[in-house]
Symmetry: C2
Subunit: 168 residues, 2 copies
């Protein structure tokens, strides 16, 4: 019998649990430095000011098994942005990620947004395939990384990113 997953909005006190997920759910990608980089990218401010478009998933015991941090663009009334998504690797086959994304799409539509954007690393082929399966298309870039269009120095010197956009 599949376990029940509960979705809810994060509160500020969830910050530490999400930081823990950022440390442990990426299979050690980038070592301790990679974990620290992920943690720095999701500061507490998202759990104070953007909870109304973010989501947590918990299992039957209340353990955190997934999160999505997103927001409505303050500058562009047509746009919403997904900043960071994490799913416990033991739960990746449950469609949990997809349910988190679709909850965010619903938030964004309800707020009158017509498109959603997000990014990933050009070497993360799994993430690229995943976003494509969710209906995102890849935006043009100035690089070709093994056939994937990417934008150079997107998140700083040497940090290329693949840009995704999806209509809502």
């Amino acid at each position: 019998m599949p376990e029940t997953i509960t979705f809810r909005r994060p509160v500020e006190d969830d910050f530490a649990r999400v930081q823990d997920g950022l440390t442990h759910w990426w299979g050690g990608l980038g070592g301790e430095d990679g974990a620290r980089q992920r943690r720095l990218l999701v500061p507490r401010l998202f759990f104070q000011h953007f909870t109304s478009t973010s989501h947590l998933a918990e299992d039957g015991t209340g353990r955190l098994v997934g999160f999505l941090v997103g927001f409505l663009s303050q500058d562009d009334p047509e746009e919403a942005y997904i900043h960071f998504v994490g799913v416990d690797p033991e739960r990746r086959r449950d469609g949990l990620g997809s349910r988190l994304y679709h909850r965010f799409f619903a938030d964004a539509r309800r707020a009158g947004r017509s498109r959603v954007r997000c990014i990933t690393g050009p070497a993360n082929l799994q993430s690229i395939a995943y976003h494509t399966s969710l209906g995102f298309r890849i935006e043009p870039g100035d690089l070709d990384v093994d056939g994937v269009p990417a934008t150079s120095h997107y998140d700083g010197e040497g940090l290329a990113r693949v840009k995704f956009v999806r209509d809502l």
Copy 2:
């Protein structure tokens, strides 16, 4: 004759120049690791989605000499938040920081916000004195760091922060 400083909203292409400021304007605080930490805290998304409450300062030659990245809380219609401020250390005596803060206060007031929040590190006595001089008061915390109230593990394990609030 004092040099003219020009203020304007950032655009996405300003991202690289601000990253450069984050690298060089802190007098080497924290070494290369500290510079990288500051850069990670100000990702490109702020130059895409929150430019309408952010500000750049440039000197007469168009060189970047200061920036403020802030936003209106999406969740709390009374609140605005200042995420990161940087001023070229050669320009710190020109009142440039204060002019950036006051521009943000005006943005926030215009958007109907009644208070602004921000944080700093408890060891950064210069920043604490500076925020106090701008009318911020320190919020209570669970730590006392040499007489300064701070909140433990605020930005992650071991990263205490001083919380400021100011009425608008």
